[in-house]
Amino acid sequence: MVNIKRFLGIGKFEFNRHHAYRFDSLIWMILIPMFFLVEVFLWKSLFSASGQEVVNGFTFQSMTLYYFMAHVTMAVTSSNLDRMISYLVKTGKLIKFIIKPINFFHFSFIRNTWRSLIRAVLYIPPLIIAGYFLIPSIDFSYLQPHYYLISLILAGILKFNYIFMFGLFSFWLKANDGIRILRQGIAGFFTGMLIPLSFFPQPMQEIFKFLPFQYMLYVPVQIFLGNFNPNQIHQMLGFQVIWTIIFMFITFALWKKAFAKFKGVGV
C-alpha cells in the first residue's frame, strides 16, 4: 500500500531533522571528498611505484573513477538504522513508533529511503566537484549509468534489510555496539569500499560471489565502470534480487520474533 501523503510527511520530517543537524551534514560534505582525495593520491603513488599501466585490471584512471563511484554508492546506501533501532530498544522509546498506525518495518523503510535521497543531494555534488579536478579525462562510452541506477536501487534495498536485521539483534543483546562495529568492518572490506575486490586472491573472489556483501557496493560500481558484459550484468542484478529477497525474509521473520518478544508473548 503506497500512501503518498504519508511518504511525503515522513520525508518532510526527515528533512527537518537533517536541517536541525546541518552542521553534521556540512562536516560530511567536506570529509567525503577528502577521503576520496586521499585515496586518489595513495593510488597515484602506488601506480607510479609499480611502474605498471594496469594493476589487477585497473588503470589509474579507472581506479579514480572506481573510488568516485564507490563514494557515490556509499553516500546513497549507507545507513545508521541499526544504531537507531538499538537506541530505541534500549531506551524503550520504540513504544512511540509501536503505538502509531504504521508497521515499524514499513516506516523504517520509508525513512531510510528519504535519508538516502537527502544524502545523495547533499554529498554527491561536493564529490562531483572533487572528481572534476581529480579524475583524469575519461571515455564515457564504456559506462553503464542506466544499469548502475537499477543496481544502486537494489543495493540500497538489500543494504536496508541487512542493516535492519543487525538493528533487530538489539532485542536480544543488551549491548549492540560490538556487532555494529563488526558489521561496519565487514562492510568496509567485503563490499569493496576499501579496495576493489579484484585485488583479493581468485578463490576468495569466488567465495564473495556467494556472499551478499559485494552486491551492496562492488557490483553496482563495476557495472557502472562497464567491467561486466550484458550477460554478466543480468546475472549480477539477478543475484542482487535474490539476496534482497533472502534478507527480506530473514528480517521479516526476525522482526516478528523481536516484536513478539517486545510484547512479551507467551510469558
Binding site: 501523503k5 513504544i95 517486545f262
Partner: protein
Amino acid sequence: METAISVRGLRKNYKTYKREDGFLASVRSVIHRDFSTKEALKGINFDIAKGEILGFIGPNGAGKSTAIKVLCGILHPTAGEVNSLGHTPWEDRINYAQKFGVVFGQKSQLDWDLPPNDTFHLIKALYGIPEAAFKRRLNYMVKLLNVEAIYKTPTRNLSLGERMKCEVIAALLHNPKLVLLDEPTIGMDVVAKKKLHGFIKRINEKYNTTFIITTHDMGDIEKLCKRVIIINNGDIVYDGLLEELKKKHINNKLIEVKFEDKTRIRVPKRCKLISRTPYTLKFEVPVKGQSLDKFVVDIIKNYPVADIVISDPPIEEIIRDIYQA
C-alpha cells in the same frame, strides 16, 4: 451506557532474571540463569463507559503501567480478554491505533531536537489526518493549553510542563475516542496542572472522549475523575465512585484551630492529636456517633479562636490505608 472498554480476567506474568552477589554467581549466570515469575496482573476485570474519565491509581509496581500497555496493544497478556472500542488491542494493533492516543509521562514522543510542531506534522502524515481538521484541532488545542508561543521552538528548550502539554496535543491530534494518560502531570507545577485539568475536561465534554489516567497525584484524581480503580499487587482493590470511597473510608474529620494568643488547650476526649504549637492545634475527630458542633462550639466559647477549619483528611491518607491493608 455504552461500553468503551471491557476487561475480563486479564493476567500478565513477567519473567525476571536474578543474579546473586559475588563473582562466582556472575560466572554461573553465563551458563544458567535463574528466573522468577512476577505476576504483574492477577486476573483483573473492569468496564469503562464511553465518555468516562477514569482514575487508575496504585503504588509503584502495582501493575498500572502494565494494564495501560495491554490496552495500547503493545503488551501481550498471559491470559484474559480485552475489548477496547471493538478491538482486541494486541491483535488488531494498526487499525486500533487510529482510535486511541496515549501519553507516557516518562517517555517523550516528541523529537528532542525538533520543535513539537514538526512531530505534529509527522503525526498528521502517519494518521492521515486531513489538512483542515489538523489545522482546526491544532489551533484549538494550542490555544486552550496556552502553548502558542512555544510549540515552534525545539523540544530541548522547553520546560517540562510545556513539553508535557505538547505531548498531550500530540496524542490527541487524530481525535482519538480513547486517551490513555500515564502520569501526565509528572513534574508539572500547579498552574500547568490546572491548565491540563481544564483541558482534559473540555476535550472530554466536547468530543465525549474516554480518558484513563494513571497518576500518583491525588489532585489529578479529585479534579478529573468521578470513578477510580485502585490497583495493588496486580489486583483491583477498589472500583467505584470517588465519593463512595471517601464516604466509606473517611471515619475522621480534621479540625485545625488558630488562636489569637498563646493558648494551652487539652485535646478533647476520643480525639487524636495531630500537631500542636502555642498558637495552633490540629486534631482528628471520629465522625461516628457524634456531631461536630459540640467540639467546635466548645472551643470557640472557651478560647480566643482566630480561625477554625474543618476538613476531610487528604485523600492520600485514605489511599495509603487501602494500600497498606
